[in-house]
């Protein structure tokens, strides 16, 4: 996989999302749960806005000093027996992991959930070099069996229900049990246990690396990340270069924000901090630890007006709050990063060419900005993307360009504006019935296909006002 998923056009993806009644029901109910959970968890803290401000300060400070903290992190990791590799591109990151797999003569790699490995397409790269790759996060495992991309960054199989999961297990793994969640989970646990025990390498992502101590922290609910990092002899952690905090003190704040904003939990079931390789006095942990720090377009965002997009802590609160996401689902975005943060981040990491429709997949209602625990002004970034698409990339539609030039003239000349308010009623009269338009011409059609449009009034406000003034002055 890479950032871009599928070959369908934006319009085709959106329509497929809208037509998928089951997925929409699942997404809508999940959004409801996550949202009320988030609001309750925020309320419990009592001073959520102060937490958000602190979160924003921490992320902003870290990005401003990213070079310093990355240097400190890599020194600390190496001091504790690990190896750090900076990968400029997805290819470099994949090649490095492939190289380790070759050196270890690895046949099986077991993974815990990681968005950055989806982004760089690590699974495919490892499979190409002859490794069997097993996802051990339940949602990711289901998707892997189904060869389906994630539709959400925290709950990747949000779009599937238990019947579909039972079918997948039956078809791909010979499962014969019921569709009870407990039975499905027990089956997955039993299957995955074998993979944990037989894997040569464990690959994880990294929620946050702690610069001062060289620790990699993982936030999970299933405990699979602990298996991945303690059973195989080699552990490789892949992190986006922005996933870093200065010290444990900041970690506490961002993890609290993450778990509360993501699913409304005070903390997840497991928060794992891994520091260095196994010491002689220790009984578990990897003999060999590699931290792969991935740039893949991130450093290009530093120092730009989009820098705060790197503040993202991948909680998906914006996705869970987004009314557009609710109706179209994650796959409609055509990116492994869906929803508002996906619409901001995807064009930055993967260019506008394939993703120029994403910044427009928003009403700019700002529910995302309001939900973000580190105050990323998501809707403002979307507007800025639109400006770049139109003015720098020249990718706006010709018809719209002409219309907007006309708009500028109309709105900057009061005479032209005045005339149009006078003419509007007459101009639209042929389409008007009972003061409404149900089948409008030109751009109005998009509107009237699904709702009526009020016909312009016979007399505009300004003309009424002028008459009133005249009457008053005359009287």
């Amino acid at each position: 996989m890479s950032i871009k998923i599928g070959k369908k056009t934006y319009a085709e993806r959106i329509q497929a999302g809208i037509d998928n009644a089951f997925m929409r029901q699942a997404v809508s109910s999940a959004q409801g749960r996550f949202r009320s959970g988030r609001l309750k968890a925020a309320e419990d803290l009592g001073d959520w806005e102060e937490w958000r401000t602190r979160g924003e300060e921490i992320r902003s400070h870290t990005m401003e000093n990213l070079d310093y903290y990355l240097h400190q992190l890599s020194e600390q990791v190496e001091k504790r027996g690990g190896t750090v590799y900076f990968a400029k591109t997805a290819e470099e990151a994949n090649q490095y992991v492939q190289k380790i797999a070759r050196e270890k003569e690895a046949k099986k790699v077991v993974k815990s959930k990681s968005m950055v490995t989806e982004e760089i397409g690590l699974n495919e790269a490892l499979e190409e070099s002859g490794c069997e790759v097993v996802e051990s996060d339940l949602g990711e495992w289901i998707l892997q069996l189904d060869e389906d991309p994630p539709s959400h960054i925290v709950t990747p199989a949000l779009h599937k229900n238990k019947e579909q999961i039972r079918e997948t297990f039956a078809e791909k793994k010979g499962y014969t049990g019921s569709d009870q969640p407990e039975a499905l989970a027990a089956f997955a646990r039993e299957q995955l246990r074998q993979d944990f025990l037989s894997a040569d390498i464990g690959v994880t992502g990294c929620n946050f690396a702690v610069a001062e101590s060289g620790a990699v922290t993982l936030v999970t609910n299933e405990g699979n990340a602990r298996m991945v990092t303690s059973l195989p002899d080699t552990h490789i952690s892949v992190m986006g270069m922005e996933r870093i905090v200065p010290t444990w003190e900041e970690l506490e704040v961002v993890v609290s924000l993450l778990t509360r904003a993501a699913v409304g939990q005070k903390l997840t079931s497991y928060i794992t901090a891994l520091t260095g390789t196994r010491l002689e006095s220790e009984v578990d942990g990897p003999e060999d630890f590699h931290l792969v720090i991935v740039d893949n377009g991130r450093s290009k965002i530093l120092g730009t007006e989009f820098q705060s997009a790197l503040h993202c802590i991948r909680c998906a609160a914006c996705i869970n709050a987004c009314p557009v996401y609710r109706h179209v689902g994650g796959h409609s975005y055509g990116s492994i990063y869906p929803g508002p943060i996906g619409a901001v981040l995807t064009p930055l990491l993967d260019g506008y060419e394939d993703h120029k429709d994403l910044p427009y997949a928003s009403t700019l209602c700002a529910a995302c900005t309001e939900a973000c625990p580190v105050k990323i002004p998501l809707h403002e970034h979307l507007i800025r993307h639109r400006e770049i698409i139109v003015e720098r990339e020249n990718m706006g539609s010709k018809a719209e360009g002409v219309m907007m030039k006309g708009y500028a003239k109309w709105a900057s000349t009061s005479a032209a504006y005045k005339l149009s308010t006078k003419m509007a009623h007459t101009a639209l009269k042929p389409w008007t019935e009972d003061d409404y338009i149900s089948n409008g011409p030109g751009p109005l059609k998009g509107w009237t296909d699904s709702r009526d449009f009020p016909a312009p009034a016979r007399q505009s406000f300004r003309s009424w006002y002028k008459q009133r003034e005249k009457r008053r002055n005359d009287g």
Partner: protein
């Protein structure tokens, strides 16, 4: 107190009655209302679509039109918020930025002006009926006007307000979004219309004509018998 009405292009053309009610309402509280004829559109349709250069022309026209005003009051959270963004948009033109800042400091949304500036909580209006209120996104999240409409409506005699399920959710308008992403917009406004119907309210009240036009248009298409009213119309009802 001298108040210049910022009518918004939608109310000017499509719902002049909202403007008339706004004028009368403000006059009832002793405001001397004027209407600068140079005003046009706030620039939002172009700005939000990425046509920033084009939007600046509209913005400059609006700055010129309201230059001599003491207060500027508009019956829309969204359009008023757009005005508040002018200094940011015009940041690289210092002279215009300064003029834009002067406009920002004297501009208010109608309910905000009544509650925060005129210190009115009860406008003394009477309106019989059951209604539900849609708090529009730009008014609440961007302009930060959350309580003023509620305070004013609670004090209208005879009016019963029924809570709208998932009221904070966008109605699917989003300006050009409604046309560009018509299929998604349709789903959003359909869900909103269903929630409105669930309340069994006779009236839908809101503070932004764009959203009201969207929800009203869908309700009408669904043959729902819900009347759509701008908050100014309710507050000016005797």
């Amino acid at each position: 107190m001298r108040v210049s009405l910022f009518i918004t292009c939608l109310c000017d053309t499509l719902t002049p009655d909202v403007g008339k009610d706004t004028v009368q309402l403000l006059e009832r509280f002793g405001c001397e209302v004027d209407f600068p004829q140079g005003q046009t559109c706030c620039g939002q349709p172009a700005y939000n679509s990425g046509y920033v250069k084009e939007s600046k022309q509209a913005m400059k026209q609006m700055i010129r039109a309201f230059e001599d005003s003491e207060y500027v009051v508009g019956p829309s959270g969204s359009c008023v918020h757009m005005l508040k963004e002018y200094p940011k948009v015009l940041h690289d033109e210092p002279e215009w930025k300064e003029r834009a800042e002067a406009l920002v400091h004297k501009t208010y949304e109608l309910s905000q002006f009544l509650v925060d500036v005129l210190d009115v909580k009860d406008v003394g209006s009477t309106f019989q009926g059951k209604a539900t209120y849609h708090p529009s996104c730009h008014m609440t999240r961007l302009l930060g006007v959350k309580d003023a409409p509620r305070i004013l409506l609670e004090n209208v005699k005879g009016l019963e307000i029924i809570d709208l399920p998932l009221k904070e959710d966008c109605c699917g308008f989003g300006g050009t979004f409604a046309v560009k992403n018509a299929a998604v917009s349709e789903q959003m406004v359909h869900e909103k219309a269903e929630h409105i119907s669930e309340t069994k309210a006779e009236y839908l009240i809101g503070g932004d004509m764009g959203c009201l036009m969207n929800m009203g248009g869908r309700l009408r298409r669904n043959d729902e018998d819900v009347k759509v009213l701008h908050i100014a119309q309710v507050l000016n009802s005797q």
